[in-house]
Amino acid sequence: MINTDRSKYPKKIDGKPEIDLDSGKYLKIWQGPQHPGVTGNMALELTICGDEVVECKTHVGYLHRGFEKLMEQRKFIQNFPIVCRICVPEPDTNEYLYATAIEELGGIKVPERALWIRTLNLELSRLGSFLMQVGGQAGAFGMGTVTQWSITHRDYILDLFEEMTGGRVYHMYMLPGGVRAPLPEGFEDRVEAVLKKTEKILSDIEKVLLNNAVFKGRAMGLGIITPDMVDKYGVVGPNARAAGLKRDVRIDTPYEKYGELDLKYITGTKSDAYERTLVRFQEMFQSISIIRQIMKKMPEKGPFYVKTPNVLYWKIPAGETYKKAEATRGEYGYYVVTDGSDKPRRVCVRGPSYTHAIALLQDLIVNVDIADVPGLMTSLHTCPPEIER
Protein backbone atom coordinates (compact mmCIF):
# COMPACT_ATOMS: atom_id res chain seq x y z
CA MET A 1 0.00 0.00 0.00
CA ILE A 2 1.27 3.48 -0.83
CA ASN A 3 2.13 5.64 2.14
CA THR A 4 0.20 8.87 1.55
CA ASP A 5 0.99 10.51 4.86
CA ARG A 6 3.37 13.22 3.71
CA SER A 7 3.98 14.58 7.19
CA LYS A 8 6.78 12.05 7.69
CA TYR A 9 7.62 10.93 4.19
CA PRO A 10 9.70 12.09 2.38
CA LYS A 11 11.95 12.99 5.28
CA LYS A 12 12.58 16.73 5.61
CA ILE A 13 15.97 18.23 6.34
CA ASP A 14 15.92 21.98 7.15
CA GLY A 15 12.36 22.14 5.84
CA LYS A 16 13.35 20.66 2.46
CA PRO A 17 12.31 17.15 1.45
CA GLU A 18 15.18 14.74 1.05
CA ILE A 19 14.68 13.32 -2.41
CA ASP A 20 16.95 10.68 -3.85
CA LEU A 21 16.01 10.28 -7.51
CA ASP A 22 18.16 7.15 -7.80
CA SER A 23 16.01 5.37 -5.22
CA GLY A 24 13.34 4.83 -7.88
CA LYS A 25 10.65 6.19 -5.58
CA TYR A 26 10.54 9.58 -7.24
CA LEU A 27 10.21 10.90 -10.74
CA LYS A 28 10.99 14.36 -12.00
CA ILE A 29 8.68 15.66 -14.70
CA TRP A 30 8.21 19.00 -16.40
CA GLN A 31 4.79 20.43 -16.87
CA GLY A 32 5.23 23.19 -19.43
CA PRO A 33 6.32 25.48 -20.95
CA GLN A 34 4.15 23.99 -23.71
CA HIS A 35 1.38 22.13 -21.99
CA PRO A 36 -2.41 22.53 -22.13
CA GLY A 37 -2.56 22.33 -18.36
CA VAL A 38 -0.28 25.27 -17.74
CA THR A 39 -1.54 28.83 -17.82
CA GLY A 40 0.58 30.63 -20.41
CA ASN A 41 4.28 30.06 -20.96
CA MET A 42 5.72 28.87 -17.71
CA ALA A 43 6.99 25.54 -16.51
CA LEU A 44 6.62 23.55 -13.34
CA GLU A 45 9.45 21.25 -12.42
CA LEU A 46 7.58 18.63 -10.44
CA THR A 47 9.00 15.84 -8.34
CA ILE A 48 6.35 13.19 -7.96
CA CYS A 49 5.96 10.10 -5.86
CA GLY A 50 3.29 7.90 -7.36
CA ASP A 51 0.58 10.36 -8.39
CA GLU A 52 1.43 12.93 -5.77
CA VAL A 53 3.61 16.00 -6.08
CA VAL A 54 6.23 16.17 -3.35
CA GLU A 55 8.16 19.19 -4.59
CA CYS A 56 7.71 21.89 -7.19
CA LYS A 57 9.76 24.68 -8.66
CA THR A 58 8.27 27.30 -10.94
CA HIS A 59 10.36 28.28 -13.94
CA VAL A 60 9.66 31.46 -15.83
CA GLY A 61 11.61 33.27 -18.54
CA TYR A 62 9.95 31.85 -21.64
CA LEU A 63 8.29 35.09 -22.65
CA HIS A 64 10.43 37.78 -21.14
CA ARG A 65 10.24 40.71 -23.52
CA GLY A 66 12.09 43.35 -21.55
CA PHE A 67 9.11 45.74 -21.52
CA GLU A 68 10.31 47.66 -18.49
CA LYS A 69 13.66 48.33 -20.13
CA LEU A 70 12.04 49.29 -23.44
CA MET A 71 9.77 51.75 -21.66
CA GLU A 72 12.76 53.66 -20.32
CA GLN A 73 13.86 54.33 -23.89
CA ARG A 74 10.57 55.55 -25.31
CA LYS A 75 8.60 58.74 -24.85
CA PHE A 76 5.64 58.58 -22.50
CA ILE A 77 3.08 58.25 -25.27
CA GLN A 78 5.09 55.64 -27.17
CA ASN A 79 4.72 53.19 -24.29
CA PHE A 80 1.00 52.63 -24.72
CA PRO A 81 1.40 49.89 -27.35
CA ILE A 82 3.78 48.19 -24.90
CA VAL A 83 1.85 48.36 -21.62
CA CYS A 84 -1.32 46.78 -22.97
CA ARG A 85 0.67 43.80 -24.21
CA ILE A 86 1.70 42.86 -20.70
CA CYS A 87 -1.63 41.10 -20.18
CA VAL A 88 -3.75 39.54 -22.93
CA PRO A 89 -6.98 38.84 -21.02
CA GLU A 90 -7.02 42.20 -19.28
CA PRO A 91 -4.89 44.84 -21.04
CA ASP A 92 -7.04 47.77 -19.92
CA THR A 93 -5.80 47.67 -16.33
CA ASN A 94 -2.27 48.23 -17.65
CA GLU A 95 -3.35 51.09 -19.89
CA TYR A 96 -5.28 52.72 -17.09
CA LEU A 97 -2.52 52.44 -14.49
CA TYR A 98 0.17 53.77 -16.78
CA ALA A 99 -2.07 56.63 -17.95
CA THR A 100 -3.14 57.59 -14.44
CA ALA A 101 0.45 57.52 -13.14
CA ILE A 102 1.52 59.89 -15.92
CA GLU A 103 -1.46 62.14 -15.27
CA GLU A 104 -0.60 62.34 -11.58
CA LEU A 105 3.07 63.09 -12.18
CA GLY A 106 2.32 65.44 -15.08
CA GLY A 107 -0.48 67.29 -13.26
CA ILE A 108 -3.33 66.45 -15.65
CA LYS A 109 -6.93 66.39 -14.45
CA VAL A 110 -9.21 64.03 -16.33
CA PRO A 111 -12.76 65.21 -17.19
CA GLU A 112 -15.76 63.64 -15.48
CA ARG A 113 -17.13 61.86 -18.54
CA ALA A 114 -13.76 60.22 -19.26
CA LEU A 115 -13.65 58.87 -15.70
CA TRP A 116 -17.01 57.16 -16.24
CA ILE A 117 -15.96 55.75 -19.61
CA ARG A 118 -12.74 54.44 -18.08
CA THR A 119 -14.62 52.76 -15.25
CA LEU A 120 -16.90 51.10 -17.81
CA ASN A 121 -13.88 49.97 -19.79
CA LEU A 122 -12.16 48.52 -16.72
CA GLU A 123 -15.24 46.67 -15.53
CA LEU A 124 -16.03 45.23 -18.97
CA SER A 125 -12.48 43.98 -19.16
CA ARG A 126 -12.79 42.40 -15.72
CA LEU A 127 -15.93 40.59 -16.79
CA GLY A 128 -14.24 39.33 -19.97
CA SER A 129 -11.22 38.12 -18.04
CA PHE A 130 -13.37 36.33 -15.46
CA LEU A 131 -15.21 34.53 -18.27
CA MET A 132 -11.87 33.39 -19.66
CA GLN A 133 -10.79 32.16 -16.23
CA VAL A 134 -13.99 30.19 -15.66
CA GLY A 135 -13.50 28.57 -19.06
CA GLY A 136 -9.96 27.63 -18.08
CA GLN A 137 -11.08 26.33 -14.71
CA ALA A 138 -13.73 24.07 -16.27
CA GLY A 139 -11.31 22.96 -19.01
CA ALA A 140 -8.69 22.00 -16.44
CA PHE A 141 -11.17 19.49 -15.02
CA GLY A 142 -12.14 18.15 -18.42
CA MET A 143 -15.28 20.17 -19.08
CA GLY A 144 -14.40 21.70 -22.43
CA THR A 145 -18.00 22.60 -23.28
CA VAL A 146 -18.13 25.19 -20.51
CA THR A 147 -14.89 26.65 -21.88
CA GLN A 148 -16.50 27.10 -25.29
CA TRP A 149 -19.58 28.78 -23.80
CA SER A 150 -17.58 31.21 -21.71
CA ILE A 151 -15.04 32.05 -24.43
CA THR A 152 -17.90 32.75 -26.86
CA HIS A 153 -19.40 35.16 -24.37
CA ARG A 154 -16.05 36.80 -23.80
CA ASP A 155 -16.02 37.33 -27.56
CA TYR A 156 -19.28 39.28 -27.33
CA ILE A 157 -17.50 41.56 -24.87
CA LEU A 158 -14.60 41.87 -27.32
CA ASP A 159 -17.16 42.92 -29.94
CA LEU A 160 -18.15 45.76 -27.61
CA PHE A 161 -14.51 46.70 -27.19
CA GLU A 162 -14.04 46.67 -30.95
CA GLU A 163 -16.93 49.05 -31.34
CA MET A 164 -15.80 51.28 -28.51
CA THR A 165 -12.06 51.38 -29.18
CA GLY A 166 -11.40 49.92 -32.63
CA GLY A 167 -9.43 47.01 -31.20
CA ARG A 168 -10.59 43.65 -29.91
CA VAL A 169 -7.75 42.54 -27.64
CA TYR A 170 -5.46 45.54 -27.25
CA HIS A 171 -7.25 48.86 -27.13
CA MET A 172 -4.85 51.73 -26.35
CA TYR A 173 -8.01 53.63 -25.52
CA MET A 174 -7.13 55.28 -22.24
CA LEU A 175 -4.51 57.93 -22.80
CA PRO A 176 -3.18 60.65 -20.50
CA GLY A 177 -5.94 63.22 -20.34
CA GLY A 178 -8.92 60.92 -20.85
CA VAL A 179 -10.03 58.45 -23.48
CA ARG A 180 -9.53 58.43 -27.24
CA ALA A 181 -13.19 58.62 -28.27
CA PRO A 182 -16.65 58.92 -26.73
CA LEU A 183 -19.01 55.97 -26.61
CA PRO A 184 -20.69 55.14 -29.93
CA GLU A 185 -24.37 55.97 -30.43
CA GLY A 186 -26.76 53.36 -29.03
CA PHE A 187 -23.92 51.62 -27.19
CA GLU A 188 -25.95 51.25 -24.01
CA ASP A 189 -28.47 48.93 -25.71
CA ARG A 190 -25.77 46.73 -27.11
CA VAL A 191 -24.04 46.53 -23.72
CA GLU A 192 -27.34 45.53 -22.13
CA ALA A 193 -27.89 42.83 -24.76
CA VAL A 194 -24.46 41.33 -24.02
CA LEU A 195 -25.05 41.51 -20.26
CA LYS A 196 -28.35 39.63 -20.64
CA LYS A 197 -26.68 36.93 -22.72
CA THR A 198 -23.85 36.69 -20.18
CA GLU A 199 -26.28 36.39 -17.27
CA LYS A 200 -28.05 33.57 -19.05
CA ILE A 201 -24.84 31.65 -19.77
CA LEU A 202 -23.60 32.18 -16.22
CA SER A 203 -26.70 30.56 -14.79
CA ASP A 204 -26.20 27.67 -17.23
CA ILE A 205 -22.55 27.32 -16.23
CA GLU A 206 -23.55 27.45 -12.60
CA LYS A 207 -25.81 24.43 -13.11
CA VAL A 208 -23.32 22.49 -15.20
CA LEU A 209 -20.09 23.31 -13.40
CA LEU A 210 -20.81 24.17 -9.79
CA ASN A 211 -23.23 21.29 -9.28
CA ASN A 212 -21.12 18.78 -11.14
CA ALA A 213 -20.09 15.85 -8.94
CA VAL A 214 -16.67 15.50 -10.62
CA PHE A 215 -15.90 19.19 -10.28
CA LYS A 216 -17.02 19.21 -6.66
CA GLY A 217 -15.07 16.07 -5.88
CA ARG A 218 -11.85 17.38 -7.37
CA ALA A 219 -12.01 21.09 -6.54
CA MET A 220 -13.25 20.87 -2.97
CA GLY A 221 -10.33 20.76 -0.57
CA LEU A 222 -7.84 21.54 -3.36
CA GLY A 223 -5.21 24.21 -2.66
CA ILE A 224 -6.48 25.60 0.63
CA ILE A 225 -5.08 29.07 1.42
CA THR A 226 -5.44 29.65 5.14
CA PRO A 227 -6.04 33.28 6.30
CA ASP A 228 -2.60 33.46 7.92
CA MET A 229 -1.01 32.59 4.57
CA VAL A 230 -2.60 35.60 2.88
CA ASP A 231 -0.19 38.27 4.16
CA LYS A 232 2.74 35.90 4.47
CA TYR A 233 2.61 35.17 0.74
CA GLY A 234 1.12 38.48 -0.42
CA VAL A 235 -2.10 36.88 -1.68
CA VAL A 236 -4.60 39.35 -3.16
CA GLY A 237 -7.89 39.49 -5.07
CA PRO A 238 -10.41 36.63 -5.19
CA ASN A 239 -7.78 34.25 -3.79
CA ALA A 240 -7.61 36.33 -0.59
CA ARG A 241 -11.36 37.01 -0.52
CA ALA A 242 -12.13 33.28 -0.75
CA ALA A 243 -10.18 32.96 2.52
CA GLY A 244 -12.67 35.34 4.13
CA LEU A 245 -10.64 38.55 4.00
CA LYS A 246 -12.33 41.75 2.93
CA ARG A 247 -9.83 43.15 0.46
CA ASP A 248 -10.70 44.87 -2.77
CA VAL A 249 -8.76 47.83 -4.18
CA ARG A 250 -11.96 49.24 -5.74
CA ILE A 251 -13.49 49.59 -2.26
CA ASP A 252 -10.41 50.14 -0.09
CA THR A 253 -8.76 52.85 -2.16
CA PRO A 254 -11.42 53.81 -4.75
CA TYR A 255 -10.18 55.09 -8.10
CA GLU A 256 -11.96 56.60 -11.10
CA LYS A 257 -15.71 56.33 -10.33
CA TYR A 258 -15.76 53.18 -8.19
CA GLY A 259 -16.37 55.28 -5.07
CA GLU A 260 -19.77 56.34 -6.46
CA LEU A 261 -20.94 52.83 -7.26
CA ASP A 262 -22.63 50.24 -5.13
CA LEU A 263 -20.28 47.27 -4.70
CA LYS A 264 -19.41 45.01 -1.84
CA TYR A 265 -16.68 42.59 -0.81
CA ILE A 266 -17.42 39.09 -2.04
CA THR A 267 -15.89 36.66 0.36
CA GLY A 268 -15.81 32.93 1.00
CA THR A 269 -14.77 30.78 3.90
CA LYS A 270 -13.33 27.46 2.79
CA SER A 271 -10.65 28.94 0.58
CA ASP A 272 -10.23 25.96 -1.74
CA ALA A 273 -10.40 25.83 -5.54
CA TYR A 274 -14.19 25.36 -5.40
CA GLU A 275 -14.69 28.35 -3.12
CA ARG A 276 -12.51 30.52 -5.35
CA THR A 277 -14.70 29.56 -8.32
CA LEU A 278 -17.79 30.48 -6.31
CA VAL A 279 -16.28 33.86 -5.40
CA ARG A 280 -15.43 34.53 -9.05
CA PHE A 281 -18.97 33.62 -10.06
CA GLN A 282 -20.42 36.16 -7.68
CA GLU A 283 -17.82 38.67 -8.84
CA MET A 284 -19.13 38.27 -12.39
CA PHE A 285 -22.70 38.94 -11.32
CA GLN A 286 -21.46 41.97 -9.37
CA SER A 287 -19.54 43.17 -12.46
CA ILE A 288 -22.74 42.97 -14.48
CA SER A 289 -24.52 45.03 -11.84
CA ILE A 290 -21.67 47.57 -11.79
CA ILE A 291 -21.73 47.93 -15.58
CA ARG A 292 -25.50 48.59 -15.43
CA GLN A 293 -24.97 51.22 -12.74
CA ILE A 294 -22.25 52.89 -14.84
CA MET A 295 -24.44 52.95 -17.95
CA LYS A 296 -27.21 54.62 -15.94
CA LYS A 297 -24.88 57.27 -14.56
CA MET A 298 -22.88 57.81 -17.75
CA PRO A 299 -22.94 61.50 -18.74
CA GLU A 300 -24.15 61.95 -22.29
CA LYS A 301 -22.34 65.18 -22.94
CA GLY A 302 -19.14 66.82 -21.88
CA PRO A 303 -15.47 66.57 -22.78
CA PHE A 304 -13.94 63.12 -22.79
CA TYR A 305 -10.39 64.32 -23.24
CA VAL A 306 -8.33 67.18 -21.91
CA LYS A 307 -5.54 68.63 -23.97
CA THR A 308 -2.09 67.59 -22.80
CA PRO A 309 1.22 69.20 -23.78
CA ASN A 310 2.55 68.02 -27.16
CA VAL A 311 3.12 64.36 -26.43
CA LEU A 312 6.28 64.19 -28.51
CA TYR A 313 8.01 66.87 -26.43
CA TRP A 314 6.23 66.36 -23.11
CA LYS A 315 8.66 66.53 -20.21
CA ILE A 316 7.29 65.43 -16.85
CA PRO A 317 8.84 66.81 -13.64
CA ALA A 318 10.87 64.47 -11.45
CA GLY A 319 8.75 62.37 -9.12
CA GLU A 320 7.53 58.89 -8.32
CA THR A 321 4.21 57.26 -7.67
CA TYR A 322 2.57 53.90 -7.13
CA LYS A 323 -0.87 53.43 -8.66
CA LYS A 324 -2.96 50.33 -8.26
CA ALA A 325 -6.24 48.86 -9.42
CA GLU A 326 -8.27 45.72 -8.84
CA ALA A 327 -7.68 43.38 -11.76
CA THR A 328 -9.46 40.02 -11.87
CA ARG A 329 -6.47 38.46 -10.16
CA GLY A 330 -6.21 41.15 -7.48
CA GLU A 331 -4.04 44.18 -6.82
CA TYR A 332 -2.28 45.24 -9.99
CA GLY A 333 0.20 48.08 -9.57
CA TYR A 334 2.44 50.43 -11.52
CA TYR A 335 5.42 52.10 -9.90
CA VAL A 336 6.48 54.95 -12.15
CA VAL A 337 9.51 57.20 -11.64
CA THR A 338 10.18 60.31 -13.71
CA ASP A 339 13.30 62.48 -13.83
CA GLY A 340 12.18 65.62 -15.67
CA SER A 341 12.95 64.23 -19.13
CA ASP A 342 10.57 63.18 -21.92
CA LYS A 343 10.88 59.48 -21.03
CA PRO A 344 10.05 57.57 -17.86
CA ARG A 345 13.03 56.86 -15.67
CA ARG A 346 11.61 53.58 -14.42
CA VAL A 347 8.35 51.73 -14.78
CA CYS A 348 7.83 48.65 -12.65
CA VAL A 349 4.76 46.49 -13.02
CA ARG A 350 3.39 44.58 -10.07
CA GLY A 351 1.21 41.66 -11.12
CA PRO A 352 -0.58 39.41 -8.61
CA SER A 353 0.75 36.26 -10.34
CA TYR A 354 4.26 37.20 -9.27
CA THR A 355 3.51 35.73 -5.90
CA HIS A 356 0.53 33.47 -6.75
CA ALA A 357 2.45 31.48 -9.37
CA ILE A 358 5.81 31.29 -7.64
CA ALA A 359 5.98 31.43 -3.83
CA LEU A 360 2.36 30.44 -3.21
CA LEU A 361 1.96 27.78 -5.90
CA GLN A 362 5.23 26.06 -4.97
CA ASP A 363 3.95 25.48 -1.46
CA LEU A 364 0.27 24.79 -2.24
CA ILE A 365 1.07 22.15 -4.82
CA VAL A 366 2.72 19.74 -2.38
CA ASN A 367 0.53 16.63 -1.83
CA VAL A 368 -1.68 17.51 -4.80
CA ASP A 369 -2.32 14.77 -7.38
CA ILE A 370 -0.60 15.44 -10.67
CA ALA A 371 -3.96 15.42 -12.50
CA ASP A 372 -5.18 18.29 -10.30
CA VAL A 373 -2.17 20.55 -10.90
CA PRO A 374 -3.79 22.41 -13.86
CA GLY A 375 -6.98 22.87 -11.82
CA LEU A 376 -4.99 24.31 -8.94
CA MET A 377 -3.03 26.69 -11.16
CA THR A 378 -6.18 27.94 -12.86
CA SER A 379 -7.93 28.37 -9.52
CA LEU A 380 -5.13 30.76 -8.52
CA HIS A 381 -5.65 32.51 -11.89
CA THR A 382 -1.94 32.68 -12.63
CA CYS A 383 -0.80 34.63 -15.67
CA PRO A 384 2.94 34.47 -16.54
CA PRO A 385 3.16 37.65 -18.71
CA GLU A 386 2.72 39.82 -15.65
CA ILE A 387 5.62 38.02 -13.96
CA GLU A 388 7.94 38.63 -16.89
CA ARG A 389 7.64 42.22 -17.94
Binding site: G61, E68, K69, V236, T321, Y322, G333, V337, A359
Partner: protein, 178 residues
Protein backbone atom coordinates in the same frame (compact mmCIF):
# COMPACT_ATOMS: atom_id res chain seq x y z
CA UNK B 1 0.49 58.99 8.12
CA UNK B 2 2.61 62.11 8.71
CA UNK B 3 2.12 61.65 12.47
CA UNK B 4 3.28 58.06 12.31
CA UNK B 5 6.38 59.00 10.34
CA UNK B 6 7.10 61.88 12.76
CA UNK B 7 6.92 59.46 15.68
CA UNK B 8 9.36 57.04 14.07
CA UNK B 9 11.62 59.73 12.59
CA UNK B 10 14.11 59.82 15.43
CA UNK B 11 14.33 56.11 16.07
CA UNK B 12 14.98 55.13 12.46
CA UNK B 13 16.56 58.41 11.22
CA UNK B 14 13.92 58.87 8.53
CA UNK B 15 14.43 61.46 5.81
CA UNK B 16 12.40 63.06 3.03
CA UNK B 17 8.71 62.28 3.48
CA UNK B 18 6.42 62.75 0.46
CA UNK B 19 2.64 62.53 0.50
CA UNK B 20 2.19 61.59 -3.14
CA UNK B 21 -1.58 61.23 -3.18
CA UNK B 22 -4.53 60.47 -0.93
CA UNK B 23 -3.46 56.85 -0.49
CA UNK B 24 0.29 56.85 -1.14
CA UNK B 25 3.32 58.19 0.76
CA UNK B 26 7.04 57.75 0.36
CA UNK B 27 9.77 58.00 2.95
CA UNK B 28 13.55 57.61 2.79
CA UNK B 29 15.49 55.52 5.29
CA UNK B 30 19.18 54.70 5.55
CA UNK B 31 20.51 51.27 4.58
CA UNK B 32 21.40 50.52 8.19
CA UNK B 33 17.88 51.17 9.50
CA UNK B 34 15.91 49.84 6.52
CA UNK B 35 15.16 46.27 7.61
CA UNK B 36 14.47 47.14 11.30
CA UNK B 37 12.14 49.93 10.07
CA UNK B 38 10.30 47.61 7.66
CA UNK B 39 10.02 44.94 10.38
CA UNK B 40 8.58 47.54 12.76
CA UNK B 41 6.09 48.64 10.11
CA UNK B 42 4.98 45.04 9.57
CA UNK B 43 4.82 43.90 13.18
CA UNK B 44 3.70 47.02 15.03
CA UNK B 45 2.12 49.41 12.53
CA UNK B 46 0.08 46.83 10.58
CA UNK B 47 1.79 47.28 7.22
CA UNK B 48 1.26 43.58 6.69
CA UNK B 49 1.20 43.44 2.90
CA UNK B 50 4.29 43.71 0.74
CA UNK B 51 3.18 44.86 -2.69
CA UNK B 52 6.48 45.31 -4.43
CA UNK B 53 10.24 45.46 -4.12
CA UNK B 54 11.99 47.16 -6.97
CA UNK B 55 15.02 49.29 -7.80
CA UNK B 56 15.85 52.44 -9.73
CA UNK B 57 19.33 52.98 -11.13
CA UNK B 58 20.47 56.50 -10.11
CA UNK B 59 23.64 56.25 -12.17
CA UNK B 60 24.38 59.99 -12.07
CA UNK B 61 24.61 59.90 -8.27
CA UNK B 62 26.30 56.49 -8.26
CA UNK B 63 23.40 55.06 -6.28
CA UNK B 64 20.73 52.39 -6.50
CA UNK B 65 17.36 53.25 -5.05
CA UNK B 66 15.52 50.22 -3.66
CA UNK B 67 11.82 50.84 -3.11
CA UNK B 68 9.64 48.65 -0.91
CA UNK B 69 5.90 49.28 -1.29
CA UNK B 70 4.00 48.23 1.83
CA UNK B 71 0.28 48.40 2.44
CA UNK B 72 -1.73 48.85 5.60
CA UNK B 73 -5.23 47.36 5.22
CA UNK B 74 -6.55 49.24 8.26
CA UNK B 75 -5.35 52.71 7.32
CA UNK B 76 -5.80 51.81 3.63
CA UNK B 77 -2.48 53.45 2.86
CA UNK B 78 0.51 52.52 0.74
CA UNK B 79 3.93 53.45 2.03
CA UNK B 80 6.94 53.43 -0.29
CA UNK B 81 10.17 52.95 1.66
CA UNK B 82 13.16 54.28 -0.29
CA UNK B 83 16.65 53.03 0.47
CA UNK B 84 19.71 54.36 -1.33
CA UNK B 85 22.73 52.09 -1.60
CA UNK B 86 26.15 52.56 -3.15
CA UNK B 87 26.13 51.51 -6.78
CA UNK B 88 29.67 50.18 -6.53
CA UNK B 89 28.84 48.01 -3.55
CA UNK B 90 25.36 46.75 -4.38
CA UNK B 91 24.54 44.64 -1.34
CA UNK B 92 21.38 44.90 0.73
CA UNK B 93 20.00 43.03 3.70
CA UNK B 94 17.33 40.49 2.76
CA UNK B 95 13.70 40.56 3.91
CA UNK B 96 12.78 37.02 2.79
CA UNK B 97 12.13 36.09 6.44
CA UNK B 98 9.34 38.68 6.61
CA UNK B 99 7.42 37.78 3.44
CA UNK B 100 7.70 34.66 1.30
CA UNK B 101 7.40 36.51 -2.00
CA UNK B 102 10.30 38.82 -1.14
CA UNK B 103 12.77 36.09 -2.17
CA UNK B 104 11.50 36.22 -5.77
CA UNK B 105 11.70 40.02 -5.91
CA UNK B 106 15.24 39.88 -4.55
CA UNK B 107 16.20 37.19 -7.04
CA UNK B 108 14.94 39.45 -9.83
CA UNK B 109 16.89 42.45 -8.49
CA UNK B 110 20.07 40.37 -8.38
CA UNK B 111 19.59 39.33 -11.98
CA UNK B 112 18.37 42.62 -13.42
CA UNK B 113 20.38 45.15 -11.38
CA UNK B 114 23.14 43.05 -9.82
CA UNK B 115 22.04 43.94 -6.28
CA UNK B 116 22.93 41.11 -3.94
CA UNK B 117 20.81 39.99 -0.99
CA UNK B 118 22.99 37.51 0.90
CA UNK B 119 21.03 34.65 2.45
CA UNK B 120 17.94 35.11 0.30
CA UNK B 121 16.83 31.68 -1.03
CA UNK B 122 17.87 31.06 -4.63
CA UNK B 123 19.18 34.59 -5.07
CA UNK B 124 22.04 33.45 -7.30
CA UNK B 125 19.84 31.41 -9.62
CA UNK B 126 18.67 33.06 -12.81
CA UNK B 127 14.98 33.92 -12.85
CA UNK B 128 14.34 35.04 -16.42
CA UNK B 129 17.66 35.17 -18.27
CA UNK B 130 19.21 31.74 -18.47
CA UNK B 131 22.87 31.89 -19.47
CA UNK B 132 23.15 35.71 -19.34
CA UNK B 133 26.79 36.76 -19.58
CA UNK B 134 26.60 40.54 -19.81
CA UNK B 135 26.18 43.31 -17.24
CA UNK B 136 22.76 43.20 -15.48
CA UNK B 137 20.36 44.44 -18.17
CA UNK B 138 18.23 46.86 -16.17
CA UNK B 139 21.25 48.99 -15.31
CA UNK B 140 21.25 52.31 -17.13
CA UNK B 141 24.67 51.66 -18.67
CA UNK B 142 23.45 48.52 -20.43
CA UNK B 143 22.92 49.52 -24.06
CA UNK B 144 20.11 47.38 -25.53
CA UNK B 145 20.72 48.52 -29.12
CA UNK B 146 24.40 47.71 -28.95
CA UNK B 147 23.66 44.32 -27.42
CA UNK B 148 21.06 43.50 -30.05
CA UNK B 149 23.26 44.56 -32.96
CA UNK B 150 26.19 42.56 -31.61
CA UNK B 151 24.18 39.48 -30.71
CA UNK B 152 21.49 39.18 -33.35
CA UNK B 153 22.71 41.05 -36.45
CA UNK B 154 23.53 40.65 -39.22
CA UNK B 155 21.12 37.81 -39.75
CA UNK B 156 21.20 36.10 -43.13
CA UNK B 157 18.48 37.27 -45.50
CA UNK B 158 17.41 40.10 -43.20
CA UNK B 159 17.28 43.65 -44.53
CA UNK B 160 16.49 46.83 -42.70
CA UNK B 161 14.99 49.88 -44.35
CA UNK B 162 14.69 53.47 -43.30
CA UNK B 163 10.87 53.66 -42.89
CA UNK B 164 10.55 57.15 -44.46
CA UNK B 165 12.60 56.33 -47.57
CA UNK B 166 10.95 52.93 -47.92
CA UNK B 167 7.43 54.38 -47.87
CA UNK B 168 8.39 57.21 -50.23
CA UNK B 169 9.78 54.70 -52.73
CA UNK B 170 6.67 52.54 -52.40
CA UNK B 171 4.16 55.37 -52.73
CA UNK B 172 5.89 57.61 -55.26
CA UNK B 173 8.22 55.35 -57.24
CA UNK B 174 8.37 57.65 -60.27
CA UNK B 175 9.28 60.78 -58.30
CA UNK B 176 12.21 59.05 -56.70
CA UNK B 177 13.53 57.62 -59.91
CA UNK B 178 13.87 61.12 -61.40
Amino acid sequence: MKTLIDELKKKYELKKFTQQNEFTCFVTVSKKHAVPFITHLRDVENFTHLSLVTAVDRIEEDLFQITYILHNYQLKMDLGVRVFINRNEPVMESIHHLWKQAATYQRELKEMFGIDFPGSPGVDESLFLEGWDNIPPMRRDFDTRKYVSETYFPRKGRKTHDPATYMRNKLYPTENSQ
